[in-house]
Symmetry: C2
């Protein structure tokens, strides 16, 4: 008997931080864990080597007339620092009440295990289920999936045989209200490094004669937003798609409350693009954020130094139809033009990803050429969610990014049905990440019904 919670505990205990080479062993262990698990369910498992972390490509074949679903997930997780803010060890999964704590619990190990468990239950009940299933589980999602494009090229013919992609790597706004995500923001990330003097200097012996690189970096950063909350980079908003009326209506049904959201964040006041509520802004508007900054002495006490260097890590979230490469160039050009005298700047390019949008069936702007199996999947999901959760799902774009969804669409033509399972309070990418085990239970039942419905109708 497949115990999803025990399996999830084991999965979380493998510290699979893809972006940090110190976690090589944890990555290997998490990958082997998933491959072995899918093998035990009867899948033909290929571990596809890449330049960095392998991709697990596990197939359950069948008759060409059967529907074919690709279930996507990732076995890698975000870095866990600052470790001192964790109440339980990041890689020792701990159940408290109905939550399991640990890095990756919600992003993406819990939701991925939910869908694996649904498949396990289905196949246990009916080993001859007329449904083709391909698991596609990568290990570089948290670092921008650098190996994924090459993988897509080499596997596109096998993927094109499928009908759609199913995944749970998006959000659930409340434990009672499922969202089938219809859009994702894109990403454009890079670092900027500022250099002043050729070495660190004593601020007494040399202070007062040169521009400090921390000051120069701050002067640059301070120009990148307007006081009223717009990104202050010429051309930044040029390609932003207008929002379709049904999207605004759907968002209203969410009934989100600004005061509660402010309290959840712990802030006094929002800071959004003018004309957008915070809930609209994070779905329909692009951002330019500073993910990290560093320079000079950061330890205990003081060190009266003028540092030689300072840096910031910048990321933009993009919306359709912004292009990451174009936005990066706009922002870099703007930074270059605004760099004050006396310092030099350099950029370190990081990853990027296109934004994505899919229109569910029966909406006023549904494309005519939509795949019939995709439409059936959306309708099956609507029905299963309504039955299991007692309330129909909402169809919303969300603020997060899963850049490979746009890549899959571009290379294979496959659209995605995104069944969100992580809650705002799950602390993704932050200390004390957790996953709600009640949500997991309902999620397993929902995915089981969606997949069963697809199989029944084939």
């Amino acid at each position: 008997m497949f115990d999803p919670v025990e399996k999830l505990k084991e999965f979380i205990s493998h510290p699979s931080v893809s972006a940090d080479s110190k976690f090589r062993d944890g990555m290997q262990a998490a990958q082997e864990f998933v491959a072995t698990l899918l093998g035990s369910l009867g899948f033909t498992v290929e571990v596809v080597k890449t330049d960095l972390h392998p991709i697990i490509f596990a197939q359950r074949g069948g008759d060409a007339s059967w529907p074919h679903v690709v279930i996507y997930g990732h076995y890698d997780v975000q870095p866990a620092d600052p470790l001192n803010l964790w109440k339980t060890p990041a890689f020792e999964p701990t159940i408290i009440g109905n939550r399991i704590y640990g890095r990756g619990a919600a992003d993406n190990k819990g939701p991925l295990m939910t869908n694996i468990a649904a498949v396990a239950q289905l196949l246990e009940a009916n080993p001859n289920l007329p449904l083709r299933i391909t698991f596609l589980i990568e290990g570089e999602e948290e670092m921008g999936s650098p190996s994924f494009p090459k993988f897509l090229e080499s596997h596109k013919d096998r993927l094109k045989e499928a009908d759609f992609v199913y995944l749970s790597d998006t959000a659930l706004p409340t434990p009672d209200q499922v969202v089938l995500t219809c859009g994702l923001r894109g990403l454009a990330l890079f670092d900027v490094h500022v250099t002043g003097a050729k070495g660190d200097l004593h601020s007494g012996l040399h202070g007062g004669v040169l521009r400090n690189p921390i000051q120069a970096l701050a002067e640059i950063i301070a120009t990148l937003h307007t006081p009223d909350g717009r990104v202050n980079v010429p051309g930044f908003y040029a390609d932003v798609l207008d929002v379709h009326p049904w999207e605004r209506d759907e968002l209203k049904k969410l009934g989100a409350d600004e005061k509660s959201y402010r309290e959840f964040l712990g802030i006094d006041t929002f800071y959004t693009t003018p004309g957008f509520s915070p809930f609209e802004a994070l779905r329909f508007q692009p951002t330019l954020e500073f993910n990290g900054i560093g320079g000079g002495y950061q330890g205990e006490g003081t060190k009266t130094v003028i540092p030689s260097k300072a840096f910031a890590k910048i990321s933009c979230r993009l919306v359709p139809n912004q292009e990451p490469e174009k936005i990066k160039q706009l922002v870099m050009d703007t930074i270059r033009a605004r760099t004050p005298s006396g310092v030099k700047i350099e950029f370190v390019d990081q990853h990027q990803g296109d934004p994505y949008v899919v229109v569910p069936p029966d909406r006023s702007n549904t494309p005519k050429e939509q795949s019939p199996v995709l439409a059936r999947a959306f309708r099956a999901a609507d029905k299963a969610v309504s039955e299991v959760w007692g309330r129909a799902p909402l169809y919303l774009r969300e603020g997060g990014s899963v850049p490979i969804i746009a890549q899959i669409k571009q290379v294979t033509g496959l659209d995605s049905v995104m069944f969100g399972l992580f809650l705002p309070e799950d602390n993704l990418h932050a200390p004390n990440e957790s996953f709600n085990l009640e949500v997991m239970k309902k999620g397993i039942e929902t995915s089981r019904r969606v997949l069963a419905a697809l199989a029944e109708k084939s």
Copy 2:
């Protein structure tokens, strides 16, 4: 026979970083090394307990008619990070050519050992030397000497018996040109912490609705200087003393070259208070510098987080007659007034120190009440420097800070003769700190002659 270089190597090998509690053992070892050394020279050594690092108070008494010099120094050093930029290990003293490398080599272990060696040679040649000497060697200089005021209060009666303070903890502009430092900048240091949301947030799920604390901190920092290089804090320059004409003339004799200095720093262009050359600015003008900044993710790759917190370490160098407490309040009030909405700020106070000025004898503005022994010491130093170095010393204020010099003056009335020994290329407070052993040799001979001359005339 006293071997100054061997003694200095041993001294540097004790990692005495006062600001970092991880170096407790190194502090203890350095303190014991100095105390034992002075005991072996016949001094009565007291190790005066303080709340943190002890002060070594070592006396050679004698007839009340003998002149009495207090020789000041410190056995603590700056933190050595970033360690990866050191070419030789920071606490394994290494001689390459005529330089000894290691943290503290120049600040202050080499110059202090120079003066100890001069005393050792004098007493070896004449055990009955008619000169009272008190060594006053502290262990908290690099963290702002927090225990020194209490020590001064408890020892002020014994210190008031002395005539002046002699020290080598200031700069030598070139290996051929000694400066007797006549002024020091003061210091005012504090950290500012900015908090946005109550925890780190996923920049996809929440990006676009709140002000990032890195952005807020940058916006604050960017307001603190004008584009033309003044500190942009109302009232900051109100108490700055005008420069006396002989000071500007003396500085001209230094013959410093802007192009060489720019090349030494590795910058294209200076950034000074308008109306001041860089050499004037760093002696006669106050500064506001950023010694460190931090927030969010600083590791490899990327982490798409909106951090909860960011901070900066700020230090002001002050000139007579600026008051550290008043300047701190001005800067903090300005920062408070300029903090954008959506974030909270907090200050962490660090140390501070008053600026200091002493006028050597025979200058147009020499105070009438100057101590006769102080005047004799200045004249003896002028003669010894002229003989040993082949060129008369210059009398200049410098940009660095030794805050206890102003405290000693305030509490005991004693002025200081500051015989500078570290060179610009010695990399104080930076990786690859070193001390020139030729300078050390000449320094020992100079200090020996100064002290001998004082004894002769008593």
